[in-house]
Subunit: 370 residues, 2 copies
């Protein structure tokens, strides 16, 4: 695996990336030395498989360090202590978590618990005076999302959301090309986000914990992707749901939803969210003068893509490594990423998802005011 | 350019194609010799640019021969006589066209006039006792389409519609693979059909002649493609229209429409029809076990595609050459193509397009009963 520093060395020759990594690039365009001693110390809450992926990726971070863990399973805490060298004093069970406020060695709590628990967990971390990174979806609806934003504001902590694609070099290069006018007026985005979900007993298929189905988990990539690829906010949404397996996908757990977004500039997005189809992770953006496509567009492995200018070639670095290092910059120095990753940004996705669910029920166009 | 015979020689080794070209393949799977002396003699009505393309392609046909022309422009008739060796006695002006009924040397009239004129021209050809091939869209709405079907039935002539993709080898191979279960249960089709239309004064942007906008001209490829790729008929449709240039695309002339089709088996299709975007001619079909994609999917040049089994490799032959040779088989010997190309088949597209326009207006899901 490339280290972050090695990655930066590799890409520093490429002026194309310069606009994409604000944390590491000074205004003059020179590669900055990492600020000495500036590191965010992260505790992860919820030690499932994605948490392990984040923990592993964080080993390559320059500015983020995994120092704590929160879990309901004592054995998992022991395993993480051994695996990642986490001191026992930085490990918490959910029922003693509030005492984290007295721990000066943890700056941030990264909440990676089931969707419906994000709200209480973020509120808890905020009231303990810790910054929060929350996995996406930030919450199961916009109302909860707003409460979380308000609570973090009140507690004077920052709230970021785990939108790792906002730090992915090929994605950032497409945004740069679009902003540079390479594609002309952008008029169409097609997003296809789906996979076949396995174990029917997992929390992701339990409405109480997931808040929904494929849309909450994988469809959100196309929701968010439509916005960062087009670079505008949608003003309306329509949506159509189909369900082929009502036993596996119970009431309130969406299997497949087509949704369409309209934008003030005339662009439209047409997207698929599904838990029943393999190998769907494609973004396509079309403008009057050019295009961009990513396939895979959001998977953990190397992103592949090309635009009307040609293939996109950047070395692969684990997205979570980039994300945590960049988030360190945001938390420590108020750096501005190319695409915002804060609660307000995440709230827009939740408002769109709320509207998608409303549109499925109403069968009508639902307007949005983001 | 490959001749038809040369093409068949080239592909005869490929068992994969055998199911795809019923005209040339006997029930035993052997390549048949073309029936001696069996040729349909075609007169083309409407001598625009697509008519020239058809005329050129027909030069390579084994079973179809261009022998006549109908035009409102005497100079065009002269040009065609010279270029294609058409005898003057087989040339007609619109106002003397009815006398074609007394011409025993013309079997079929191929109507390639503006959309809104298809109905009167097909009725006229049918009442002259000639078989009719009508360019797509067959008519500007289903009501007219039904009248045309009825008129041809009454006149005991056959009515075919110029769906050239139904004879295109890569398309047929995908249909074969789907029917063979290679993709498993098919759940998703994405069609993107569009181009930037030029001259704002052309008939295609005049509602009186075109009957609509991009949907009638290019969107119909995704309408039809959704059906032959998925292999079912849709049961509902939703649609959303956007217009960025109301001066160029006047009332009733659609610029961009997203539409979605639902199928009884649970499949959904998500399609784009547009007159404002370059380079959009993509079909993608996804099933539980495999996929197929075509890009370009319907253009005149070589179709490119691959499926979960690999690249599709068949030599390019002008689609219109294949179409006319196969249509000769349908007209002369009642051969059944893989996908029907008769009036009833075309009527289904018109019913869907009617429903798309209704859905744009109602903003609701419109049910279909095809």
């Amino acid at each position: 695996m490339h280290s972050r520093r090695e990655f930066l060395r590799k890409v520093s020759a490429s002026s194309m990336l310069l606009s994409g990594l604000p944390w590491t690039i000074s205004a003059s365009g020179d590669l900055e030395s990492p600020p000495q001693g500036k590191v965010i110390r992260v505790a992860i809450m919820g030690l499932g498989s994605y948490a392990s992926r984040v923990a592993n990726a964080m080993q390559d971070c320059t500015h983020a360090k995994l120092v704590g863990a929160i879990s309901g399973t004592p054995q998992k805490l022991k395993d993480w202590q051994n695996k990642y060298g986490i001191p026992e004093k930085n490990c918490y069970h959910y029922n003693d978590f509030d005492s984290i406020k007295n721990n000066p060695d943890i700056d941030v709590v990264y909440v990676i618990t089931p969707n419906a628990l994000h709200r209480p967990h973020v509120l808890q971390a905020a009231s303990a005076g810790k910054h929060v990174i929350c996995e996406k979806p930030m919450a199961i609806n916009a109302k909860e999302g707003q409460e979380m934003i308000d609570a973090c504001k009140k507690a004077k902590v920052k709230l970021l959301v785990g939108y790792r694609m906002h730090f992915e070099p090929k994605t950032l290069e497409i945004i740069r090309q679009r902003e540079a006018g390479i594609y002309g007026k952008v008029l169409y985005f097609n997003g296809q986000s789906g996979f076949v979900i396995g174990d029917p007993k997992q929390w992701r298929l339990n409405k109480e914990l997931s808040g929904g189905g494929a849309m909450m988990d994988i469809g959100i990539y196309s929701v968010n992707g439509a916005r960062y690829m087009i670079g505008e906010e949608p003003i309306w949404v329509t949506a159509e749901e189909t369900k082929t397996n009502p036993l596996k996908f119970k009431e309130g757990v969406d299997e497949t939803i087509l949704f369409q977004l309209g934008f003030a500039g005339g662009a439209v997005a047409s997207c698929l969210s599904t838990y029943s189809m393999n190998n769907l992770d494609k973004f396509f953006l079309n403008g009057e003068k050019g295009f961009a496509e990513l396939n895979p567009a959001t998977g953990y492995g190397p992103i592949e893509g090309r635009t009307s200018l040609g293939e996109l070639n950047f070395p692969h670095v684990a997205h979570q490594t980039l994300q945590l290092d960049e988030m360190a910059g945001i938390l420590l120095e108020d750096r501005k990423p190319v695409v915002a990753v804060d609660g307000e940004e995440a709230l827009k996705d939740l408002k769109i998802i709320d509207a998608i669910y409303r549109a499925v029920k109403s069968g009508k166009k639902e307007t949005l005011n983001l």
